[in-house]
């Protein structure tokens, strides 16, 4: 048995990918534009449909600045991520990169972060979906589920509470079944979803601008820097998905040129759309309205109904949200199962997480566990706690990515890097600074949740993972590559 410090610092060796599949592993077929669309598709929709009602009360009209700050932090992180992803071609997201570059202990810290990032994001998005679903029922059929079945029992400030958020639970359940059956969202479906999301948001902008009043931007900085960073922390969640561009990097013809263009292009589009939505939203109604009970769920639809007095535009927005957020939940859940799968392959989790059902050829056990946990969170925890929790996980993970670039450039100078971060070493350093700034605005309760979760994951590692790790048994045969 290896000594403790050796265990904590042991890194996964770089192995040559097994070329056992037909022809080249991945044909480099993607162009900058398709890659950019991936980024936009994976990002838009994660939070923008719900985040205004959370962020505007914190920052006031300066929420525009918060969007910019969060966007810059996300864009820089994605650039750093792209260097790692291109030089360590493995699956399993940030967790795998860290295992290769910084060793087992840090890999587990990152695992804790990405489990929050994906698992809780799936719950949060499902809760948001539930609000729009109810809104849609209401405007189409004139009834909606009672509060007892639409809200979680956990109180948040003085928001409405209920027994369980049933639509969110059902949504996660449906996505779980789809994933067990081996469903996957094709590039074509993704494109359709992107168009729906963008179309719906543009509709919101156009309608909301009809009620625009410039005086609503008076006292722009009234909430001060603390308000801006608090809102940026919450908003950061809505930029999750930008890293999808980095992970697809190996399919690009000329990564050094295409990747930064795609990341920046996606970022500009996403930030542009978000700023438009924020600008139109803030200009369309008094600030106090954003914290009202009726806007707690399905915020964008309710704003439109208040403005126009007609339910038609709100219904269209709700319908678009219901369709496109469904796919966001599916993809996020999928990401979560595959990270657990990579951990199971490394024996940082019990083997069962890496077992594949012989009939469906999908990791059924793993998917069911994810489905159950995510649906419990979605059913019983209010989204307000969830968004900040997702942000903290993602921000910590991104900081570690930036730091590991600095470390790898020193320890592995000879590593082949198809893509190198422009402006090294300033870029990774600024990334860390930006992430830390956004982190500083998060509420104390978020830090408590994160610390407890991290402690649980690390305790599990010290008691179980450390001894069962594939590196412990010296068996690298099945190591993920």
């Amino acid at each position: 048995m290896a000594g403790l410090s050796q265990q904590l610092l042991r890194r996964k060796p770089f192995a040559q990918p097994r070329g056992a599949h037909d022809g080249p592993e991945l044909a480099r077929t993607l162009g900058t534009f398709s890659l950019m669309m991936f980024g936009v598709g994976a990002t838009v929709g994660t939070g923008i449909f719900f985040v205004l009602q959370e962020a505007v009360p914190d920052a006031g009209p300066a929420v525009m600045v918060s969007f910019l700050v969060a966007g810059v932090a996300a864009g820089l992180s994605a650039l750093c991520y792209a260097e790692l992803a291109s030089s360590i071609p493995v699956s399993g997201s940030t967790y795998s990169f860290t295992y290769h570059s910084m060793g087992e202990l840090m890999a587990m810290v990152i695992a804790a972060c990405v489990l929050l990032e994906y698992g809780v994001a799936a719950s949060a998005v499902a809760v948001g979906w539930s609000g729009y679903f109810n809104e849609l029922l209401n405007s189409l059929f004139g009834f909606q589920l009672p509060d007892a079945l639409s809200y979680s029992p956990v109180p948040y400030e003085d928001d409405v509470t209920g027994l369980v958020n049933l639509p969110a639970v059902v949504l996660v359940f449906l996505c779980t079944i789809l994933l067990i059956r081996g469903a996957s969202e094709s590039a074509k479906v993704n494109t359709i979803m992107v168009l729906i999301k963008l179309g719906v948001l543009l509709l919101f902008v156009v309608v909301a601008l009809t009620a625009f009043r410039a005086d609503r931007f008076d006292h722009f900085f009234a909430s001060g820097s603390a308000g801006i960073s608090a809102a940026a922390g919450t908003i950061f969640f809505s930029f999750i998905g930008l890293d999808a561009v980095s992970t697809a990097g190996e399919e690009v013809k000329d990564p050094q040129r295409a990747l930064p263009r795609a990341i920046m292009g996606a970022l500009v589009i996403v930030v542009g759309v978000y700023l438009l939505v924020a600008f139109a939203g803030v200009g369309s109604q008094p600030l106090a309205e954003f914290s009202s009970d009726e806007q707690q769920s399905a915020g964008l639809s309710v704003i439109l109904e208040n403005i126009t007095g007609s339910s038609i535009p709100g219904t269209v927005v709700a319908a678009g949200a219901v369709i496109s957020i469904f796919s966001v939940t599916l993809v996020t859940l999928y990401g979560q199962t595959r990270i657990l799968f990579a951990m199971g392959r490394d024996r940082m989790l019990p083997d069962r997480f890496a077992s594949v059902d012989s009939r469906t050829m999908t990791p059924t056990f793993n998917t069911i566990v994810v489905g159950v946990v995510v649906s419990l969170i979605a059913g019983f925890v209010p989204a307000d706690y969830l968004w900040d929790t997702v942000s903290i996980g993602t921000l910590v993970a991104f900081s570690v990515v930036a730091i590991s670039i600095l470390i790898l450039r020193r320890t592995q100078p000879g590593l082949e890097r198809p893509f190198r971060v422009p402006g090294y070493p300033v870029t990774p350093v600024i990334t860390v600074v930006a992430c830390v700034y956004v982190l500083s605005g998060l509420a104390a309760i978020t830090w408590v949740i994160f610390s407890v979760w991290l402690a649980i994951v690390l305790a599990f590692y010290f008691l179980w993972g450390r001894r069962h790790s594939r590196l412990e048994s010296g068996d690298h045969e099945g190591a993920t590559r």
Binding site: H21, D22, F38, G39, S93, T247, A342
Partner: protein
């Protein structure tokens, strides 16, 4: 034992007869070639039209019997053959009732003329058989012919590691024991489609597939250890991977004298064949005759 072979006259399709002869030579069975003739309207008092129809059906059946007998004489005069025509509502129901009546070991059919040459195509008759037979069903690819005097030299079991696969393997081992053929256990690993947008990278499905292959290798070894006696002399296990069923199938080498054995799901009624979606895909991609076992 007897093999019941379905024969449709006038369709220029002898693939079923060729496969029947190959199987009969391999394990000494005799063939019962059956043609379905349309049944009469069950009226107590037959009118003129009904009698005329019955005469036509009889002539149709007898012509089919003559055609089948002549073809079999060309294909292999040494195989013991009985050809008959039987009235029935459909070809599949006739074949099933004949199989039951004669205690057949299997029902053999051809691919008809709708599919591509060299590929198995499911005619409507074969499709019904695969969802309702209680005996194995053998299907020949379109245009199949076996060299004179040849026998089955290798049986490949499509194996995926579940309980059903073990039964299929036992059935394949039994075929090998009867025919002296080599045994090959093959697992077809078809890589799942990647999710877009690829939140955690595009290699996820490769990772899942590698795990599945590792798992299946272990299960293959375990299952092969449990094969009873007589054990085939030549036993091999392979995994063929690909992005589609067809490309996975193409990765294996196929030769004349090969037979692919596929198990059916138990999703259907107890002790009836019922092809699952994957088995159906394997079947359609097969370049050699397929034996579907319950």
């Amino acid at each position: 034992m007897t093999l019941v072979v379905g024969f449709a006259p006038g369709k220029d399709d002898r693939s079923g007869l060729e496969l029947g002869a190959l199987l009969a030579r391999s394990d000494g069975d005799d063939l019962r070639i059956v043609t379905a003739a349309p049944a009469r309207w069950p009226t107590p008092v037959a009118g003129g039209t009904d009698r005329e129809y019955a005469d036509w059906a009889r002539a149709h059946g007898e012509a089919a019997v003559a055609e089948a007998t002549a073809l079999m004489a060309q294909i292999d005069p040494d195989v013991r053959v009985k050809a008959a025509w039987v009235e029935g509502r459909s070809a599949s129901s006739v074949l099933l009732s004949q199989a039951g009546k004669h205690g057949a070991r299997a029902v053999v059919v051809g691919s008809g003329q709708a599919g591509a040459y060299g590929q198995v195509h499911l005619s409507s008759t074969a499709d019904v058989l695969l969802h309702s037979a209680s005996v194995p069903v053998a299907i020949a690819p379109r245009g199949f012919d076996a060299p004179a005097g040849s026998t089955v030299t290798r049986a490949t079991c499509a194996f995926r590691g579940d309980e059903q696969s073990r039964r299929t393997l036992a059935a394949t081992a039994e075929v090998c024991a009867r025919t002296g053929a080599a045994l090959r256990v093959a697992t077809f690993a078809v890589r799942g489609r990647t999710m877009y947008p690829p939140e955690t990278g595009l290699r996820d499905e490769d990772m899942v597939m590698e795990a599945w292959i590792e798992q299946t290798n272990a299960l293959q070894a375990e299952a092969l250890a449990t094969i009873g006696e007589p054990r085939p002399d030549d036993v091999r296990a392979v995994v063929a991977d690909g992005r589609t069923w067809q490309s996975a199938m193409d990765r294996l080498d196929w030769q004349r004298g090969d037979l692919l054995v596929v198990g059916s799901s138990r999703a259907g009624l107890a002790s009836r064949l019922f092809l699952g979606p994957n088995a159906t895909k394997i079947l359609r991609a097969s370049p050699v005759p397929v034996l579907v076992v319950p």
